[in-house]
Structures are given as C-alpha cells and as structure tokens.
C-alpha cells in the first residue's frame, strides 16, 4: 500500500517535472470567443515573431468562468472576444490587466478602447438599418428612434433582446439619452409588433423575401450575403447621421490579469492593431478595421463613409444590465 502511494507520487512528480522542461517555449495562450476572420493575422504574427499561438475557443460567458476558476494559475495570456460589453465585464471581473502601450493608443481611436487601458477594440461592427431596396426608399429612413413610427407597423424585423448586439445598442442609447427616453424608443419598436428572428442572416433573408421591410443588423452579415450574390435585394442605411451617429461595437482583446507571457502578449496586441494585421481582418471578415490607417474591404467601401457614434464603446457594458431590464419592462422579448 505504502509503496503504491510512493510510486504514484513519484510518477506524478516526474510527470510535472517533465512538463516543466517542455512546457514553456515561446508560445502564447489565447482564450478566444471570436472564431472567424482572424486566422491570417494570427499566422502572420507567428511568422514574424516565432511566437507560437495556442488558441482555446469557447463562448464568452463560459470562458470567463474558466478564467475565474483557474485564477492565478490560468495558462491564458490573452482574452479575445466579441462585443464591448463582454470586454467591459471581463475587465470588471478582474480578468484583464492594464496595458500602457503608446503603440496601441496611437493605433486605436480612444472611443474604441477601455478608458483604463485593460482592453482594446480590434475590429468595428456597425449595427444599422437594413431595408428591402424594392419596397423602401432610403429617404423614408432616418434614425433608430424613427423605427418606432407607425408607418413601420408590421414591417419591422428584430433580433430578440437577449441578443448581445441588441443589448449593446440599447445600452449605448441609455448612455446617450437616459433610461426614460430609451424606454420610449423601445416601446415604439414593440408597438410596431416586430417579427423577432434569431439570426442577423435570417433577418436579411426575411427582408429579401418580403416578410418584413426594415430590420437592424450588423453590417458584415449583409456583406457576406452580397459577396455570394451581388443582386441580393437588401441595402444598408446608416442610421442617425444627422444626430448621434451610427452605433458601432467592437471585437477586441486584453492581456489577462495573470498572464505568464505578458511581454509577448502585449506585442501580440500591438501587432493585431497594426495596419498590416488590420487589413487582414478587414479582408476576411468584412468588418471595419479599428485602425483608421487600414483600408476597408472594397465591398464594404461601396457603402461609403459614415459618422460613427463616438461615445466610448464601454457604455455597452456599463449599461448592459440596465438594457436587459429595460427590455423586460417594455415587453421586448
């Protein structure tokens, strides 16, 4: 019995020591809730620096739980995720650490990164009004608020309010307009009896087939459909150009609080914010580069320049819970 215990301990110990000998080469561990469009930039980083990337894909909330549970012993160096609200929540939970990098600050506009420098936005997604080009004239469209006008009754398609990008849109509106005004706007949408559809692509298909005439989507979903079928009968309208600007969200990243390879992790983020890497993101995913020096994909460029809402995207996190509660109150399901 005693021999067995001793043997087991010995085996374990040897195993751990062997792990120590091989485990810490030049590599970065990335926990990622973004699974599309970054491959080229990642490969280029490894080619340039020789630093290998180990990617662990997951969904945001669950990755947070794993990071929390692993605590100071986490293998993760970088957390990459979509939606500013998620990044804000990761920072609030103490999962990310402050990075003072002049390069990051120069590359990424201030409203697309954490005021306390714990995360940066890397790509930009505009959530705006999509419409059936045969049934709706752009002149009929103006703002998010105006989607509550009676003329859109029965013609509006929305995602559910559980959908993160809608929560972030509402959260930003709360920051801009305050709760009472936002509540009135959302009540207007709800009064138009929107068809609630699960999936931006599905909303676009519903617009194309005539189930509804206007909807709210992230721009790159339309770009993906147009890339496949140039005659897809849906257009995008940049909302609130005369007022606050079109709502934007980001996918972004931060260095974890207990990163073992902090210097390499910062180098990684700096590379991802460079015009070269930003171009690769934009080419693969149709997103807008966060770095203004990189060019947008030509298909997206056709939609022209637009005014972004320049409120800091962190608002999506600050007011996310309030947005969820507001949606519950007004019966936006």
């Amino acid at each position: 019995m005693r021999q067995t215990v001793a043997l087991t301990l010995l085996t374990l110990t040897v195993g751990l020591l062997a792990g120590a000998a091989t485990g810490h080469a030049a590599e970065l561990v990335v926990y990622s809730a973004r699974h599309y469009g970054q491959e080229a930039a990642f490969e280029a980083f490894t080619r340039k620096t020789g630093i290998q990337l180990k990617i662990f894909n997951g969904s945001t909330g669950e990755l947070f739980e794993r990071l929390k549970a692993e605590g100071e012993r986490t293998p993760a160096d970088v957390l990459l995720t979509v939606d500013a609200g998620n990044l804000w929540n990761a920072a609030r939970a103490g999962l990310l650490s402050r990075v003072d990098s002049p390069e990051l600050q120069a590359n990424i506009p201030a409203h697309l990164r954490d005021p306390e420098q714990r995360w940066v936005g890397l790509t930009v997604r505009a959530r705006s009004i999509a419409y059936n080009i045969q049934k709706v004239k752009p002149a009929e469209l103006s703002t998010y608020e105006a989607l509550g006008d009676a003329r859109w009754k029965g013609r509006l398609c929305l995602r559910t309010s559980s959908y993160i990008y809608n929560q972030s849109l509402l959260a930003t509106m709360i920051k801009r307009h305050g709760e009472p005004r936002t509540e009135a706007i959302v009540r207007g949408w709800v009064a138009n009896q929107p068809v609630l559809i699960n999936g931006d692509t599905k909303i676009l298909e519903s617009l194309a087939t005539g189930q509804c005439d206007v909807g709210l989507v992230n721009h790159y979903y339309l770009a993906r459909l147009l890339a496949k079928d140039g005659s897809f009968p849906v257009g995008i309208f940049w909302a609130n150009q005369q007022t606050t600007g079109t709502h934007v969200n980001v996918s972004g990243a931060g260095v974890t609080a207990h990163a073992k390879h902090r210097a390499e992790a910062i180098k990684f983020l700096e590379y991802l914010s460079s015009p070269e890497a930003q171009q690769m993101f934009a080419d693969l995913s149709f997103e807008y580069p966060a770095n203004p020096q990189a060019a947008v994909h030509q298909l997206v460029a056709r939609w022209g320049k637009f005014k972004q809402d320049d409120i800091n995207v962190a608002a999506a996190g600050e007011y996310q819970a309030a947005a969820t509660r507001l949606a519950d109150r007004v019966g936006y399901k």
Binding site: N57, S59, E70, L196, I197, T209, R325, D328
Partner: protein
C-alpha cells in the same frame, strides 16, 4: 386478464425498507456523494440570494417563463409518449412493409442534435424558407404556414427530436415481454388494440415512464432549440440573466428552480411507475409474434413510420446536405482527429456512466434502503440542468480541489506548477457522468425491475455469490436495457456542447465544438459538414445496438 394481473402482483418487488447501514449503502452513498457535488454546488448559490434580480424577474417575466416551461413539459411529455409508444408497438406487434427497416431507422433522430433539427426546420419552414416561398408562388403573397416560432411549433419539434427515448425503451420493453402472456390474452379473445391497452402498456409502464421522463428532462435542460425559436423558458431565462445581466449567481439560483421541476418530475415518475412491478417469469421463451397487417392497415402503418422518419430525420439531413454543398469552405477542420476525440470521449463516458449506474441500481436492488433510493434520485437530477450550469457546477469545485492539490505540489517542489485536473479529460468525463447518469439509471432500473426477485433467491440458494448472480443472471437478462443505456449516453455525449466547450482539454476539440464554432458565427453552411459527421458517427452505436439485440432474439423478432 385477471390472472395476468394477479400473478404480476404476486411477485411484486420488495419495498424500500427502513434505514440500514450496510457496507453497500455506505459505498454507494460515497459514490453518489462524489456525483452530487456539482448539483450541490448549484444549490449552494441559494445561500446568497440575489433578491434584486428575483424581484425584477418576478415583476417582468417569471410567470411567463414558468408557464411556458410547464406547457413545453406537458406537450413534450404527451407528444413523445404517444409517438414513441405507438411506433414501438407498431414495429414490435405487427408486420407491414418496411417494418424491418423502420425498426432501427426510427432511432436515427437520436443521432441529430436537437438544435440542428430545430435550425434545419426553421430553415425549411420559415417565411423565407423554400416551403413557404413555394407556397407563395403557388397560392399568392398571402399564403402562410402556421408560425413555427410558437409554443405549438416547439412542442412539435421537440417531440420529433426526443421521441426516440420513449421508442427505444418501449421497444425493448415490448420485446422483453413474453409471448405467453400475450397469447393468453389473445386466446381469451382480446383484439390487438385491447391486448396493447390492457396488457402490453401496463406491463411496459416502468420503461415508458422512464423514457417520457428522460424526454421531459431533456426538454427542461434544452437551450439551443428554445433560443433558436425565441421561445422563453426557464432555461432561456437562466442564460438571459447570466449573459444579459452578468448575474451568474442569480442565474444559478434560477437553475435551482429547474432542479425543483426535476424533483417534481421524478416524484411524479415514481408515482406513475406504481407500487406493483410487472416481472416476467418466462421471457426467455419466444418473443412476441408480430401480427401480419394486410390491405390499407399495412399501408397506413408504413405511412405513419415513414412520415415520422421523414420529418424527424430525412428532412433535416437533406437540409444539412444542401447547406454542406453550398458551404464556402468544405475542409478546414481536422475531421479525423475530431472524430477520434469524439468517439473516445463518448465511449469512455458511456462505459463509466453505465458502470456507475449499474452499481447504484444494483445496490438499490440488493439493499433497498431509503438512503440508496434517495441518493440515486438526487444525482439523476443533473439531467434536467442546462449543460452550461452543470459545467460550471463541475468547474468550480474541481478548480478548488485542483488549486489545493497544486498548492501541495508547489510547496513540495518549491516552484509554481500548472493546474492538473481543471481542463483535463477527467474533469470533462466527470461532467458527462453527472449530466447523463439519469439516462443510465432510468434505463437500467426499468430493465432490472422486470427480473423477478425469485431469480435472485434461487441463485443464492444454489450458492451463487452476489457477483455471480449479477454476471450470470441479471446482466444477461438486462442486456437490452444495458445496451440502450450505453447507446443513449454515447450519442448524448457526442452531441453535448456546453460542458465540452467549457471543460475540454487544450487542443482536444470534438465534432460538436466544430459545429458550435461555426454556428456561433451564423456560418450554417460550414457547420453542416461537422454536424453531418456527428449524425454519421451516431449511426455506429445505433447499428451496433440493433445487431446485438437482434442476436439475442434470433432474427430480430423473425417473420410471422
């Protein structure tokens, strides 16, 4: 008929005795305690109630969530019972064209993840989908189908997805019934329908109830399908509170409410199974001889089976094939490795879960004490919890243990050490066992309950030991149930997504992870190929089960 009832009651299994502490009881309680940790972790969140969140839920939606959940449960319960039992009775009791194929093919929907069927259905029957588009072209712009995103729509979809549980258990139960009982009833002039209603159904009750309660627990835990359909249930509410308000504690507390539902369901199940157990004293004889159907009856039977199979399996698979063809990138995933990982995890999970369930169920038979019964019930509740909740319930205690363990190593070695258990296959398998134990215990309990206790006594009196009795008497008699248990857990593990995502070891991706990575980006075309691979891999155990169960009864029931 009276004779049948009386003899059944005559050999009723002994009832649970008073609290006794045998070594078995202690051993089993320890096993169960280890399995109960994650459920206790979920329940422990109640110690820090987030009253403010509850108040908000109460004011806005709790009533609707509970009502919707109850509606879903009732609908899926009735739906799977009717569809599963009727199909099982058809293929076991009758002969009609295509029966041999339908007997195994009707299990196939098991291999398709619920969310995949749900999404394929929406793709097909949505306003923008091909069916309604064709309708509009034929009948004009106003032509519509009933809205699929509704309570009725989701009940139909979930019934089609989950009926195989009932079908599988009912089929096994019907086939394990002796021909003699049936022949007696038939010779007394009973019509096939009355034989079914008065003999087959009551005798299969434990299995039917087990199957229906599995289907209902699955419906309770489902998130993927309700989210796709925008139908708000308690599980949808959990995710909303968790990820919409970042209130993990409150979400876990809401999950405790699900556990309450599960407990009620299990209590109901107990009550429905009834005190009297129907055991078979002569089931090694010939199985049921199917009655040949002729004329329109045969055609109707074929049509019913074909309809269910077509809607629940062929349609979604065809839709997946179409998407796969349209997929932008056909390759891109290391399918060989994903498949190997998936199969490894699924076989391990099936074997471990089956083994532990056998221990629990067998202990309850040898020593029917209240404690053993209670712990078996308790650990079964994991099945009603959404995968993410149970996964966090596993993660937190495992990580605590891991930090303590590694702390000791660090102290011994004098340097920092990586975590050992968190993010290992062990933690993941632990989660699978906790989540799917109910599947095995329910199935095995239903199967073992049919073996007369007099067999045990006879074996013992002939000097056979406990293990000998298990190996030589019970296991051979339970073979059908054991196979069903293994197949179900195997297929469930293959499809499982949230726990796999959270707990899998680094670089150890499975097919379900491949599906998820693409669906989470709305890349359905690209997700179709890994999803089809899951379906194909799921066929393997189904075929195996068919073959093995066919061997047992000669030619799978044989001809008339």
């Amino acid at each position: 008929m009276e004779a049948v009832r009386a003899s059944a009651r005559g050999v009723a299994v002994r009832r649970a005795g008073p609290l006794r502490l045998s070594p078995w009881t202690v051993g089993v309680t320890l096993v169960a305690a280890a399995l109960a940790v994650p459920i206790v972790a979920v329940l422990s969140s109640l110690a820090r109630p987030r009253l403010e969140v509850w108040e908000h839920l109460w004011q806005t939606q709790l009533g609707e969530l509970i009502a919707n959940t109850l509606l879903l449960l009732a609908g899926v319960g009735v739906g799977t019972f009717v569809v599963g039992t009727a199909l099982a009775w058809l293929v076991v009791g009758f002969h009609f064209p295509g029966r041999g194929m339908f007997e195994w093919a009707l299990m196939l929907p098991l291999a398709v993840p619920a969310y995949v069927i749900g999404f394929a259905f929406l793709g097909l029957f949505d306003y923008a989908g091909p069916v309604q588009s064709a309708l509009r072209r034929a009948l004009g712009e106003a032509a519509r189908l009933p809205e699929l995103r509704s309570g009725a729509g989701i009940v139909v979809v979930m019934t089609l997805v989950f009926y195989p549980y009932v079908y599988l258990l009912a089929r096994t139960a019907f086939r394990e019934q002796g021909a003699a009982t049936l022949e007696t009833a038939r010779s007394l002039g009973r019509t096939p329908l009355r034989v079914f209603w008065e003999v087959m159904l009551p005798m299969a009750r434990p299995s039917l109830v087990a199957g229906v309660s599995l289907a209902m627990m699955e419906a309770l835990a489902d998130f993927g399908t309700v989210a796709t359909f925008g139908y708000r249930t308690l599980t949808e509410g959990i995710y909303r509170v968790w990820f919409g308000m970042f209130e993990r504690e409150a979400a876990t507390q809401l999950a405790s409410l699900l556990l309450l539902f599960a407990a009620l369901l299990l209590a109901l199940e107990r009550a429905l199974r009834g005190r009297a157990r129907f055991v078979q004293s002569h089931r090694r004889g010939a199985g049921i001889l199917p009655v040949p159907l002729r004329g329109w009856r045969a055609g109707a039977a074929t049509c019913v089976c074909a309809l269910v199979l077509g809607v629940a399996f062929v349609l979604p698979v065809v839709q997946l094939l179409v998407w796969a063809r349209e997929a932008a990138v056909a390759g891109g995933l290391p399918y060989g490795r994903l498949l190997a990982n998936t199969l490894t995890l699924a076989s391990l999970a099936a074997a471990i879960t089956g083994g532990l369930a056998l221990v629990l169920v067998y202990a309850a038979r040898l020593h029917p004490s209240r404690v053993v019964h209670a712990v078996t019930r308790f650990v079964s509740m994991g099945y009603a919890l959404p995968g993410s909740v149970i996964a966090v319930g596993v993660l937190i205690p495992v990580a605590l243990f891991d930090h303590a363990l590694v702390g000791i190593f660090e102290w011994l070695l004098g340097r920092s050490v990586d975590l050992v258990v968190t993010g290992s296959a062990t933690a993941l398998l632990y989660a699978y066992v906790v989540r799917f134990l109910a599947v095995s215990t329910q199935t095995l309990e239903a199967s073992l309950g049919k073996v007369p206790p007099s067999f045990d006594d006879a074996a013992r009196s002939l000097g056979t030991g406990m293990l000998g009795t298990l190996g030589r008497i019970h296991l051979p008699l339970m073979r059908g149930g054991l196979l069903t248990a293994l197949v179900l857990v195997f297929v469930e593990t293959m499809k499982e997504m949230p726990a796999t995502l959270l707990l899998r070891p680094f670089g150890f991706d499975t097919l379900a992870v491949g599906v998820w990575e693409r669906t989470s980006e709305s890349l359905w075309g690209d997700a179709a190929i890994p999803a089809l691979t899951i379906v194909a891999a799921g066929l393997l155990p189904v075929f195996l089960a068919i073959r093995l169960s066919a061997v047992r009864t000669g030619l799978g029931g044989g001809g008339p």
